[in-house]
């Protein structure tokens, strides 16, 4: 099973929220959807889960009529029937997903344990904290073992411990399930994602495996010398300390010129290296206006 999206667009009141988005999810991959606020991540996820209708584009998973059987969705701010208990709620949604009764009761035990909610399974959801609701949201999303999991900021409402737990759950799921999740926590994304979709202003501006993106040659180099660096008016430079700076080069020629210049100026270079790419530097570069 792979999941295609082709040329998907959505316009709300003359404003393009999702603009010509195309990508593909391969089976068993964990894909992080990152981008600044208002980039259209939530809208895109809602379109993929069928919560928002679309006119332009194609989502190929829909070729099957009952495709909702195969997806799980965690909304950004999950809200439940407050008068239900987690046990009742999971039974309710499990039956809606046409799960077998035996399997359902076994799976409910399993997901409640996995999300650390077994102790409160018979308490009303009314008194739950934001983090507990987030976990219950995750529990209902993975309950029916969907082939595709869409999570809208699964860790944003959680404390560090809860975040770690959710990350563990997600890494365990990776073997069975294809996961697409949006997040602002780039560190986590770097840790468990296989692929990255970077979104800005409704468009996917960068996509690929994590390794590909991080190994993309950077045009920024860090240069450090034993003593203070002299004025370097010929080059685009960002001085960090008197003896350390970031220099960006437009071409290899320029880099050669720079090194030549260092030799000419008799600068005692300690190090000269490509700046290490992280998801954060990538993100910052990409969203720069």
């Amino acid at each position: 099973m792979s999941f295609y999206v082709r040329n998907l667009s959505k316009i709300f009141n003359d404003q393009v929220v999702v603009n010509d988005v195309s990508f593909e999810l391969e089976h068993g991959r964990c894909v992080a959807l990152i981008g600044p606020n208002g980039a259209g991540k939530t809208t895109l996820l809602k379109m993929l889960t069928g919560l928002i209708a679309y006119k332009q584009g194609e989502i190929s998973f829909q070729k099957a009529k009952e495709w909702k059987q195969d997806i799980g969705f965690l909304p950004q701010v999950p809200f439940f029937y407050e008068w239900m208990t987690p046990g009742e709620f999971l039974t309710f949604v499990g039956r809606l997903s046409k799960m077998d009764e035996d399997l359902l009761s076994r799976k409910i035990e399993e997901v409640l344990t996995a999300t650390g909610l077994s102790e409160v399974r018979n308490k009303k959801i009314q008194g739950f904290s934001g983090g507990m609701k987030q976990r219950l949201g995750l529990a209902q999303a993975i309950l029916h073992e969907p082939a595709l999991l869409f999570l809208d900021e699964p860790v944003s409402a959680l404390d560090p411990v809860g975040r770690r737990e959710v990350m563990t759950i997600l890494s365990n799921l990776k073997t069975k399930t294809t996961i697409l999740y949006s997040t602002h926590v780039l560190h986590d994304a770097e840790e468990i994602s296989d692929d990255i979709l970077l979104m800005k202003n409704g468009e996917i501006i960068s996509q690929g495996t994590l390794e590909q993106l991080l190994s993309q040659a950077s045009d920024v180099f860090e240069v450090e010398s034993a003593s203070s660096l002299p004025e370097m008016n010929n080059f685009t430079i960002n001085l960090i300390r008197p003896n350390k700076a970031e220099v960006s080069f437009k071409s290899i020629e320029e880099k050669k010129q720079f090194l030549q210049w260092c030799v000419d100026q008799d600068i005692n270079l300690v190090s000269f290296q490509e700046r290490k790419q992280t998801l954060e530097t990538l993100f910052m570069e990409a969203v720069k206006p």
């Binding site: 069928g50 969705f73 999950p78 809200f79 029937y81 008068w83 239900m84 809606l96």
Partner: protein, 256 residues
């Protein structure tokens, strides 16, 4: 089918937890009970609180038992509609607003099942509440006034039950297309009052209108004329089915 039953069960569970299954019958019983009681004790009530001059003689015509029951229904035409609207109005709009509908909409369930389950659950609670109230007022009417043939009472009860169901379907439909509960309440109350006033003004033109059902229910008690009854019933049922499908469509199009 299992999805539908699951949804219906959830609606009932919600109504039990919110105590709607208790307060709605009680409200209906209070509304219907006051009618035979006030009519019976009218003389005493006027004497006690009316400030009539000493020695004035009151001559109240004693209404027939049929008239008392008819006045119960006319009481429900105003207050009853209001109570039904308030009890049902938030059923879809609240779930959409707070996002809990998301969990149903991302499951393999059709929107017709969602609207249908709500209609069945809310409709049955409203109709049973009405029947409780109506039978209670029947009991008091028989005690305080005279007996009425049970068949007449049952007929009027069934006709009025259909009217209650129609109100529920209208409110659920507006809950599917509108977001604000205030708007839902105002639209429905205006709709039903305008339609019933229009029905009495243009009685021939609107003789099949659903609001005429309440007049038919009263007529079966008083003079047993059934002119236009079948038409009203048919029109009401057709309208209910149309509104059900239109509501399902609205849920589909206005998902989040």
């Amino acid at each position: 089918m299992r999805g539908f039953i699951t949804l219906v069960k959830k609606e009932y569970l919600g109504s039990i937890r919110s105590k709607k299954v208790i307060w709605l019958p009680i409200v209906f019983m209070l509304m219907t009970l006051t009618q035979p009681l006030t009519l019976y004790y009218m003389e005493d009530i006027l004497k006690m609180g009316g400030g009539l001059p000493e020695g004035s003689v009151l001559q109240m015509p004693v209404p027939s038992a049929e008239e008392v029951m008819a006045s119960v229904l006319s009481q429900l035409n105003t207050l009853g509609v209001l109570v039904i609207v308030i009890a049902v109005m938030s059923t879809i709009s609240d779930e959409r607003k707070n996002g809990s509908l998301t969990f149903i909409l991302t499951r393999p369930v059709s929107s017709l099942q969602i609207v249908g389950s709500k209609t069945l659950a809310e409709g049955s609670i409203v109709v049973i509440s009405f029947i409780c109230g109506y039978l209670l007022s029947y009991y008091y009417t028989v005690i305080l006034f005279s007996t009425i043939p049970i068949q007449q009472v049952m007929e009027s009860m069934l006709i009025y039950s259909l009217y209650c169901l129609f109100i529920v379907v209208c409110v659920i439909f507006s809950s599917a297309i509108l977001t604000s509960n205030g708007a839902i309440a105002i639209v429905n109350i205006l709709f039903f009052s305008v339609l019933s006033i229009a029905g009495s003004l243009f009685s021939e033109f609107l003789k099949w209108s659903p609001t005429e059902l309440s007049n038919h229910a009263m007529n079966t008690l008083i003079d047993e004329s059934t002119h236009g009854l079948t038409g009203s019933i048919l029109v009401t049922i057709i309208l209910m089915i149309l509104l059900l499908f239109a509501g399902a469509r609205a849920v589909d199009q206005k998902r989040v």
